[in-house]
Amino acid sequence: IGEIRRYLRDNNSIRVSRSLRDMAYKALQIKDRLVNENSKEPTLSEIAKELNVSEEEIVFALDAIQDPISLFEQVYH
């Protein structure tokens, strides 16, 4: 029981900083895919639609990672 309680508590107190990174990388992956498919830069709303989240969330996620583009390049290419 103590362990369950601890588990619930830990999961209830996830810090925002941690949760945004995944979203940012997903957004950048989708951006790349859309650039390849349509040979033009997708807008915020197009990426949000693909990810099924709000534009707001994408904006925050992107800001949570420093220099998103180059970091992404390092991680994924």
Binding site: S13, R15, S17, S19, D63
Partner: protein, 141 residues
């Protein structure tokens, strides 16, 4: 940590989401939990929506948002110079709405009160409404 900000924007409905993002950005350095952040955003949302649809009912006016961080205490003040509230005590009652025609739930003040630690409402007919909310952010272990 200490910080403060002052923001002014017109009461266009799209600016409810703008205000929500600004307050999120402002509290991000406090490293709140997702729950705390969502509470703050929701409360700000309700206060700004009220300024838009009740305060500046048939006009576009300026909404003022001030926020302050003192250690782990956040204070947010949302102000309009709109029509004001006749009876604040009644307006704060759960389910009370002056605009059932707009499909309002009458739960705005109740939400602000329960999602934040403290809520003060100051209003004067013809002069406008000021909503003051505070919340303590849990500190990291």
């Amino acid at each position: 940590m200490n910080n403060r900000m002052h923001l002014e924007f017109p009461s266009y409905s799209q600016n409810e989401s703008f205000a929500r993002m600004v307050i999120s950005a402002f509290v991000t350095p406090m490293d709140p939990t997702l729950e705390e952040l969502s509470d703050i955003k929701t409360a700000v949302s309700e206060a700004v929506t009220n300024a838009i649809i009740h305060g500046y009912e048939n006009e576009i006016g300026i909404i003022y948002m001030d926020a302050e961080i003192n250690d782990n205490k956040l204070t947010v003040v949302i102000k309009d110079k709109g029509k004001g509230i006749e009876d604040v005590k009644m307006a704060r009652q759960p389910l009370y709405t002056s605009r059932p025609d707009l499909d309002r739930s009458g739960m705005g003040f109740t939400i602000m009160e329960s999602f934040m630690d403290n809520l003060d409402v100051i209003s004067k007919i013809g002069e406008g409404t000021t909503v003051i909310m505070t919340k303590l952010i849990s500190t990291k272990k």
